[in-house]
């Protein structure tokens, strides 16, 4: 999550901090010290983080802009809690928040997902003596409760500032380290950005789910089978101690540290499972399914950055036993060798996926809907068209007839059955001379059956009972008998 550091540079920040027997510090210096610590931490442990710096007093200025697009933000506001007075002060702005026009909206909540961390260059007592703390808390509330206020414990000094920033780092900037496993093959990796805890259903089990630090690969599947599944978030998977990989991702961070470089060079020579995995997935056009926790899975895959560069990435599926309906239950996926016959066929020309649902959806099962007259008319027309092509179309004629009969019985629309029966009788009278004698027999039979069904008596109106073609025999033998 990219970070914006918002630094208070108003006059009150230059207030001196009294520390016995040492050189004089201003609150500004303490803030700078804390931020330096944060930036150093990011430079070593959180290299891919993007940061921007904004300073403000009564005006503001963007000192360092972002270099990349962002979706969600972390905002670190550094202030001494002196909120100023009069127009433009936070106190005034909060008081007049409801009087603002749409074009001059209060900046909070931000129009993007964000976390607001407020680092106070003051201790709690100092803030509580005025209404500053309340105002700052309002800010967090306005940001939908996303964020936190940090204050200095004890007297203002470098050490206590450090411990305050230490808490922020622990909360928001700890790198996520994990062990990627595939059977006996393992690799230490950093997953970036940190996967955030996920709350499945507030009602049943509101405990946020956190992903395992052991990421176990459970199998591999074709990209075509998994077919661009929906994911909660995407993360880079970077082998740890492999600075080269980090560069490849495009952080552009160079290390001056000689020792670290040589350590990285050695690491670069040791075969790493991540490299093997990334290469294999790319070549085979597959993804690896990885277990993130109980009933929680994700996938590892090669993502092309440009024509030349590609990275190993991990996407998280929604937790649950069946995150992708077309694959069925995750636990039911097994090795191909366990199947009686290869589900992909001998020539690898078929696939067991997508799985068919037990109950077909309405659009796959030819349901009957007569809400619009056109739906009903189309169904009647189909019967009529086939009626005129009897006896060739006997099977289709009865199929359509039975479909209409079933729906009419379910909807209690018996008048329709009678109407269609009349129509078939009329068709019988309109048959041309050249018509096959069977056509007349079948039409009369069908009309009769529909009429019986339209009485609604159980005997003739059973839903599961179909009207079957009249058995006729116009072959030579019967003609002789006639």
């Amino acid at each position: 999550m990219p970070t914006v550091v918002v630094m208070d540079v108003s006059l009150s920040m230059t207030r001196p901090v009294s520390i016995e027997g040492s050189e004089e510090y201003q609150r500004k210096h303490l803030a700078a010290h804390g931020l330096t610590m944060l930036f150093e931490h990011m430079a070593t442990n959180y290299k891919l983080e993007f940061t921007a710096l904004v300073v403000f007093s009564s005006l503001w200025e963007l000192m360092v802009p972002f270099t990349r697009d962002y979706n969600t933000l972390q905002i670190v506001l550094v202030t001494d809690g002196c909120l100023g007075i009069g127009r433009g002060s936070l106190r005034h702005s909060l008081a007049t928040q409801n009087q603002r026009s749409e074009s001059n909206r209060f900046p909070l909540p931000f129009p993007f997902p964000s976390k607001l961390y407020i680092m106070c260059m003051a201790n709690l007592e100092e803030l509580q003596s005025t209404d500053s703390l309340e105002c700052l808390e309002r800010l967090i509330d306005l940001n939908n409760g996303e964020g936190q206020i940090f204050t200095i414990d004890g007297p203002l000094c470098l050490k206590n500032v450090q411990s305050m920033f230490g808490k922020l780092i622990d909360l928001a900037y700890t790198p996520f380290h994990a062990v990627l496993k595939c059977g006996h093959l393992t690799a230490d990796v950093q997953v970036f950005p940190r996967p955030e805890p996920f709350v499945v259903d507030e009602e049943i089990d509101p405990v946020p789910k956190v992903i395992n630090t052991d990421l176990e690969i459970v199998g591999f599947i074709d990209i075509a089978d998994i077919s661009s599944p929906p994911v909660l978030s995407r993360h880079l998977v970077l082998p740890i101690a492999l600075n080269k990989e980090g560069d490849e991702v495009g952080t552009g961070i160079t290390d001056d540290n000689e020792d670290e470089n040589s350590a990285n060079q050695i690491a670069g020579k040791i075969p790493n499972f991540c490299v093997l995995l990334h290469g294999s997935l790319k070549v085979e056009g597959m993804v690896a399914i990885v277990q993130l926790g109980p009933e929680w899975h994700g996938m590892l895959y090669s993502q092309a950055d440009s024509k030349k560069k590609s990275n190993l990435m991990m996407s998280l599926f929604e937790p649950g036993p069946e995150p992708l309906p077309w694959l069925g239950k995750m636990a039911q996926l097994g090795p191909i060798s366990d199947a009686k016959e290869n589900p992909y066929g001998e020539d690898d020309n078929k696939s067991p996926f997508p799985l068919q649902p037990k109950n077909k959806r309405s659009y796959a099962q030819n349901v009957t809907v007569w809400i619009k007259p056109s739906g009903l008319q189309t169904d009647v027309q189909k019967i009529l068209r086939n009626a005129r092509k009897l006896p060739e179309k006997t099977q289709t004629f009865y199929k359509e007839l039975n479909r209409l009969r079933k729906a009419a019985l379910a909807f209690g629309f018996l008048d329709l059955l009678k109407g269609v029966a009349d129509m078939l009788e009329r068709e019988c009278t309109l048959l041309p001379e050249t018509a096959h004698p069977d056509a007349a027999f079948q039409l009369t039979h069908a009309a009769q059956q529909l009429k019986l069904a339209s009485t609604g008596t159980c005997e003739y109106a059973a839903y599961d009972q179909n009207i079957t073609p009249l058995h006729t025999d116009f072959s030579g033998s019967s003609t002789e008998r006639m």
């Binding site: 259903d201 075509a224 075969p271 993502q303 636990a331």
Partner: protein
């Protein structure tokens, strides 16, 4: 949407009293005359649906859309009410589909207009609806079992959609009171009964949706009323709707409200014309889906909102332009890419049977596929197990391995990782080993990497030692899989013989293979962990191994000297395993093959052709010689007699 919100349970209560048999007074022309046949024929009179038919088909449409988008966890209970309540299905997932409901409705049939109206009432159905809402669903049961002591956190909410023909506003109030009273009674009963905790639950929240429907052209006796809280448990709303398509439209709007649906219209889909198959025109198809699908659109501020859709003026639809995929055959396409996807949503076409809709859905649906039978064991665990076996010995880079660069090793390497071996597998492994022995004897070069070594790299015999070591590591990693795996190792140990003193010399002399040995060590460590229990058994095997080793050494005792240089192509070795008793020392291969052959020959009758063969060749069609030439020519083959 929470799992156990009001939408988890929907009860339809449809009035089946005599007055519902009345016509909705909206005519349907069903006898549309086809062109060229119109002369002199008067079309049949239009028919009209009854209030009952309108109610049933509208509620079926509601269910159709709901089932399409929520095939699980959103349940419907269908009740019809006349002189009593008829509950048509249950909350179980098996009962949740259109076919079941249609069949049950057909069994009920249309209302009987001649029934005594005094006996019939919608109240029976409403009481039954409250009862059925108290019944626990399998999902609620599952959640409660899972939460154990926190079972009370599982909610029980529901919705009753009642379609009736009410007499007046006070009649509607009476129905509401009845529902409220019944809920109150049932909840009171629940508080005092143990039985409730098992299969019945108190109702926490009930949404009553009363729909008064009446024939088109009549004045409504009931007025609309927005949602109102009647008690902390019950809210109620009243809709007064004309029957026919108006009722269907109302239920379509309700299903969207109840299940948070939104509409998307896919525009400009090219489709072949029904009449002229070679031309194609563009069509639009409107789909319903969960409204979350639109969240990102709305966030991005890029509103594709196309205003009111054609289907109804009440809802907005987002329009998307169709983009034909690069290949029609999406599934079999070899070009497969992963695209970033933030959501996938189930859809339901608004107009399911229209041609454009079915064209689109048929294009998207693939041919029916089959499902893999799940075995008793959890397949995913079997998959992990297989990965474990396959990675027991897995050199990560090419230069670290010899055997995986050798085609000759493939038959062994591909089967040794299996959980169990067949006799045939063992035989193939043994053949592979003999083949390698043969290669060693012929001094064939090995694909040993010389990267990182100075000069030409290890000598040939050293190369073979490395290769044998690696192969042993691979096989040893799997000896605990089965007794047959052990047999492969035994064979390997018997075949890879090396003079002990030479071994010693090498150990002293070289440290170059440390790298190879490291990987072996990892596997051996693993093995030790796994196999210490079996150490006794193992010892026995090793003893046997040593014996065979000794045996092999005896054979090899007269080694490289006079043995006939093996110039036979490798294939022959597999195909002609019988050994000609010939001069010179017997090779290990022939010794082994003899043993196998003798063992095998005891199991079957020898093929007659082989028995009569001369120099391993048998003449075919010998009987033809004895018979006269006539028959042979008759067979259409030139006789050479």
């Amino acid at each position: 949407m929470k799992i156990f919100s009001e939408s988890h349970k929907t009860v339809f209560v449809v009035d089946h009293c005599p007055y519902m048999a009345e016509s909705c007074r909206q005519h349907v022309e069903f006898d549309m005359l086809v062109k060229n046949r119109t002369q002199g024929i008067i079309p049949l009179a239009p028919i009209s649906k009854s209030l009952w038919t309108c109610s049933v088909e509208s509620s079926m449409e509601y269910c159709r859309i709901m089932y399409d988008i929520f095939p699980f966890k959103k349940l419907v209970n269908f009740i019809v009410s006349d002189s009593g309540a008829h509950v048509l299905n249950s909350w179980t997932q098996e009962d949740q589909n259109l076919q079941e409901l249609m069949a049950a409705l057909a069994a009920v049939g249309p209302p009987n207009p001649r029934a005594d109206p005094e006996c019939c009432s919608i109240l029976h159905g409403l009481v039954a609806a409250v009862e059925t809402l108290c019944k626990i669903t399998e999902y609620q049961h599952e959640a409660r079992t899972l939460l154990m002591e926190n079972a009370e956190r599982v909610g029980n909410r529901g919705r009753i959609i009642c379609i009736t023909n009410a007499k007046s506003d006070s009649h509607v109030r009476m129905l509401e009171d009845c529902v409220q009273e019944t809920i109150h009674e049932h909840n009171k009963l629940a508080a005092n009964s143990d039985h409730f905790s098992l299969s019945l639950m108190q109702i926490q929240k009930c949404e009553l949706v009363l729909i008064h429907t009446y024939p088109v052209g009549e004045d409504s006796l009931v007025s609309d009323r927005p949602k109102k809280e009647l008690s902390p448990v019950l809210t109620s709303e009243v809709h007064s709707v004309r029957a026919g398509r108006h009722l269907a439209t109302k239920l379509n709007i309700l299903v969207q409200q109840h299940f948070d649906l939104a509409s998307t219209t896919i525009t400009n889909i090219p489709m072949k014309e029904e009449q002229h198959a070679n031309t194609s025109a563009n069509y639009d198809v409107e789909l319903l889906h969960h409204k979350d699908a639109h969240v990102d659109f709305l966030k991005s501020g890029d509103s594709h909102l196309g205003g009111g859709s054609r289907e109804g003026p009440f809802k907005e639809t987002i329009t998307l332009k169709w983009c034909t995929p690069r290949t029609n055959n999406i599934v079999f396409s070899s070009i497969s890419e992963l695209h970033y996807c933030t959501g996938a949503y189930r859809i339901s076409p608004v107009d399911v049977n229209s041609r454009p809709s079915s064209c689109l859905t048929n294009f998207l649906l693939n041919d029916p596929r089959y499902k893999i039978d799940g075995s008793l064991e959890v397949p995913l665990e079997r998959a992990k197990d297989q990965l474990e076996k396959h990675t027991r010995y897995w050199p990560m880079i090419i230069s670290q391995t010899t055997i995986f660069n050798m085609q000759a090793v493939v038959p062994l390497a591909s089967v040794i990782v299996k959980e169990s071996l067949t006799e045939e597998d063992v035989l193939n492994c043994q053949k592979t080993i003999y083949n390698l022995v043969d290669m060693e004897r012929k001094n064939d070069p090995l694909p040993i990497s010389t990267v990182g070594t100075r000069g030409k790299g290890p000598k040939r015999d050293e190369q073979y030692r490395i290769m044998w070591n690696e192969l042993e590591t691979l096989v040893r990693a799997h000896i605990n899989n089965s007794e047959k795996h052990q047999r492969v190792l035994e064979c390997l140990m018997a075949c890879r013989s090396k003079p002990p003193e030479e071994e010693e010399r090498k150990k002293r002399g070289r440290k170059r293979e440390d790298k190879e040995d490291k990987s072996e060590k990892a596997v051996k460590d693993y093995e030790q962990e796994k196999s210490w229990q079996d150490s006794e058994r193992l010892k026995g095997i090793l003893e046997r191994g040593k014996e065979e080793l000794a045996e092999a050494e005896i054979i090899k005792d007269s080694p490289d000297s006079p043995e006939p240089p093996n110039k036979k192509p490798l294939v022959e070795m597999d195909e002609t395993p019988q050994v000609e008793k010939s001069k010179g020392p017997v090779s290990l291969l022939s010794l082994w093959s003899n043993r196998i052959n003798t063992a095998n020959s005891r199991k079957h009758q020898e093929f007659a052709g082989r028995l009569n063969s001369v120099n391993n060749r048998a003449e075919l069609y010998q009987h033809l010689k004895e018979e006269n030439g006539m028959e042979t020519t008759e067979n259409g083959k030139a006789s050479r007699q």
